[in-house]
């Protein structure tokens, strides 16, 4: 039985769930139950997919029975299934957090009832992008998740969110148009958009054309992944959204861009044509991003800048195109999705407990809520790369791979990586010192809720509603769950690193992917000679060029 036959369910289940929750707009309890149940079911399915490809092997399914170069293909391999499991776990935690927030505030109004269907569609889009085996389906996956993210970004339609939403929507649409232009050019040049088929046919193209297509795709994905010169939009738009929305965006959306870049580099355009520019971009992303973080006084904005900065590590690992580098990058993506999301969730809690996410206003939280301090401290140190956490292990893997490569540029990146890690620690320590350790009286503009009596500080007053629970158990519980998941990534780093390395071997080899899609008897050209690939006995091209 082909395991990949069940892969489309990872997309279909959330969409069906979205339809169902849309019908239940008036019953918020049923809506919550349905969306959590659907997402848990999807997560179970994806865990099963991951377990079945854990030891190796790639499988593909042809949707609707159309044969590969023509029809839509979904491919399950170690990288995609690992991404699916991590992203679904994170989305489930965020969903529970969001329902907790909704319940605590007693929100029954329209914008929040639209949250559940939109959120499930976002998850479907992310799954579709991870599973997609052809470029246009990847584009559709991107569009599904982007359209859902537009709605989530502007949830409630307040002034700042609309302002941020405009930036976000325009930049995303422009990047999608670039991606679509790239697809049209790829189709014009090769007559196919199936990625496995492209892997064979792009090698036959003239180098000039191939470089043009390569740059187009990298720029389109670079905007989505927020790689340095194209990252300007992210810190502007993410911080204004509601806390759970920012958390899920920070965890997933940029990583889908990174995933697409990995596929482009390893499957479509192997060889090292663009490794040097990618390495320079990675270095600039790391350093410029973290310097931006140091200038911020709002915790959400600070975290958005660290998010940009740490994308640089993944691009670094990708640009080395060695098994060690790519394996470490895969591990780093899994680590960063979890950690960055949990930090944003904790910031949401800080905002609830301390009344603000601005470091000028929040203070003394370590005494008011020690649990919150622990919840911030663990992922914070993890992000900065303090041993023994997974952030340290991922960075160590990247640095080792950089030293192995041994070029001057790789050494520059190793130094930049260490520097970025130190500056991340500085940024996190600033948040820690100001929000958790100093006394509320010493803050520039302390929030009244911090100065309130300890007796009645567990409940506070928020915008017209009296007696709001400041730290609802569901929200703290889901954040705690995600933090523990992050620690589990550290504990099980051994097996995780092994599966990441195996997936890197398979991706750099390309043969398993191409043969899983196009059939066992397709000869795959050896990588070191990117000359004309053999025409072979593969199925005739999707389209005769005229």
């Amino acid at each position: 039985m082909n395991i990949a036959s069940f892969a489309p369910l990872a997309v279909v289940l959330p969409i069906l769930g979205a339809a169902l929750t849309f019908l239940l707009v008036r019953q918020s309890r049923a809506q919550r139950t349905v969306s959590i149940a659907v997402l848990s079911l999807t997560l179970l399915l994806e865990c099963w997919l991951l377990a079945s490809v854990w030891g190796g092997g790639t499988s593909a399914v042809n949707i609707g029975g159309w044969l590969p170069p023509w029809g839509i293909v979904m491919v399950v391999d170690q990288f995609s299934s690992l991404m699916l499991v991590v992203s679904s776990s994170v989305s489930l935690a965020v969903l529970i957090y969001a329902t907790g927030q909704g319940m605590a505030d007693g929100d029954q109004d329209a914008p929040v009832s639209i949250f559940h269907p939109t959120y499930l569609i976002l998850v479907a889009g992310v799954s579709n992008a991870f599973l997609s085996g052809d470029l246009f389906n990847l584009y559709v996956g991107f569009e599904i998740l982007l359209t859902a993210s537009y709605v989530l970004m502007t949830l409630g339609g307040t002034g700042p969110r609309i302002r941020a939403g405009v930036t976000y929507v325009v930049v995303s649409v422009v990047s999608s148009v670039l991606f679509l232009i790239a697809i049209a050019m790829v189709y014009g040049a090769t007559g196919t958009i199936n990625m496995a088929d492209l892997a064979l046919k792009l090698a036959e193209l003239d180098p000039g054309t191939r470089n043009l297509l390569h740059v187009m795709l990298l720029v389109a994905f670079g905007i989505k992944a927020a790689v340095f010169p194209l990252s300007f939009w992210l810190p502007d738009s993410y911080p204004t959204a509601p806390a759970p929305v920012t958390a899920v965006f920070a965890g997933l959306l940029t990583k889908v861009g990174v995933y697409a870049m990995v596929r482009t580099e390893t499957l479509l355009f192997p060889g090292d044509t663009f490794n040097t520019p990618l390495m320079v971009a990675a270095l600039l992303t790391m350093v410029v991003g973290i310097l931006g973080a140091l200038a911020q006084s709002d915790i959400k904005r600070l975290l958005s800048f660290t998010l940009v900065s740490h994308i640089g590590y993944m691009v670094f690992g990708l640009a080395m195109s060695s098994v060690a580098g790519l394996g470490a990058a895969v591990f780093y993506v899994a680590h960063h999705i979890t950690i960055q999301t949990s930090l944003f969730l904790v910031t949401g809690l800080i905002e609830r407990r301390g009344g603000s996410s601005s470091m000028d206003r929040v203070a003394g939280l370590a005494k008011l809520s020690p649990l919150l301090a622990v919840l911030f401290f663990v992922p914070g140190m993890n992000l900065a790369g303090i041993p023994p956490f997974s952030g340290f292990l991922g960075k160590l893997g990247l640095l080792q791979a950089g030293v192995q490569l041994g070029t001057p540029l790789a050494y520059a990146l190793v130094i930049g990586g260490v520097l970025t890690s130190l500056l991340t620690l500085l940024a996190i320590a600033r948040v820690w010192n100001r929000a958790f350790w100093r006394k509320p009286e010493d803050a520039e503009h302390p929030d009244p809720v911090l100065l309130a009596d300890r007796a009645d500080s567990a409940r506070g007053v928020r915008a017209g509603k009296s007696n709001v629970t400041l730290l609802p158990r569901t929200m703290v519980g889901s954040t705690l769950g995600l933090v523990i998941f992050g620690v589990a990534l550290t504990v099980f780093a051994g097996p995780l690193f092994r599966v990441a390395d195996r997936s890197a071997v398979e991706m750099l080899d390309r043969t398993p992917y191409i043969q899983a899609v196009l059939g066992e008897d397709v000869p795959v050209p050896v990588l070191s000679q990117p000359g004309p690939g053999p025409a072979g006995d593969q199925p005739a091209g999707g389209q005769e060029r005229r």
Partner: protein
């Protein structure tokens, strides 16, 4: 592969106008620009499908090479639907901007401006001695429980803050070096809790 020159020219013109429009500050023009870009891309995809006049439908007498390629048209349909959804959403945003701010313009990020205006001098990180915020003030240095005195308190020091140590005053910067285990200046702390706080 031959391309229809008219369509190609139209596509170029649409791209040029679209890029010009999205650089405007008015939201409605940005939206028009995005629509033009999307339509120009649709024409580009159409151009990859080959020239006009090929058979669109199946006929058993037609040779396989004589059929039109259906895939670009399927791609265009999908992208039209997507750009339709995005356009509708953008219109919603524009209307909302109008309701909220009574203007059809892209607005500046206030926090961005604020951070840009922040001086590089940060009182907490860069001043000579930070205001003591810990739970354990340095009162162990003083014998009379007065502990740290800031310059604002009247007892003026050269660099702003002095610490009274026994019977002499130390510059605040130097107190750290005095806090050695063997230092003569360290005397048992006063019995009352805390400093002058």
């Amino acid at each position: 592969m031959s391309v229809n020159l008219t369509l190609l020219t139209v596509m170029g013109a649409l791209y040029a106008c679209g890029i010009y429009l999205i650089l405007e500050r008015s939201l409605t023009r940005v939206l028009l620009g995005l629509m033009l870009l999307a339509n120009a891309t649709n024409l580009l995809i159409l151009a990859t499908g080959g020239y006009a006049g090929l058979a669109p439908l199946y006929n058993k007498d037609t040779a396989p090479g004589e059929y039109n390629d259906p895939l670009p048209q399927a791609l265009i349909l999908t992208s039209i639907v997507i750009s339709f959804a995005v356009t509708a959403f953008m219109l919603g945003i524009i209307y909302r901007t109008w309701v909220l701010a009574r203007q059809d313009e892209i607005q500046d990020d206030a926090e961005d401006r604020r951070v840009a205006k922040t001086p590089s001098f940060d009182a907490e990180d860069d001043s000579v001695i930070p205001v003591e915020t810990s739970e354990f003030p340095l009162t162990m240095l003083g014998t009379d429980g007065e502990g740290i005195s800031d310059s604002q308190d009247g007892a003026s020091g050269a660099s702003g803050a002095t610490v009274k140590v026994g019977d002499r005053k130390l510059e605040a910067d130097e107190t750290a070096s005095e806090e050695q285990p063997g230092s003569l200046n360290v005397t048992p702390p006063p019995s009352q809790e805390g400093g002058g706080r």
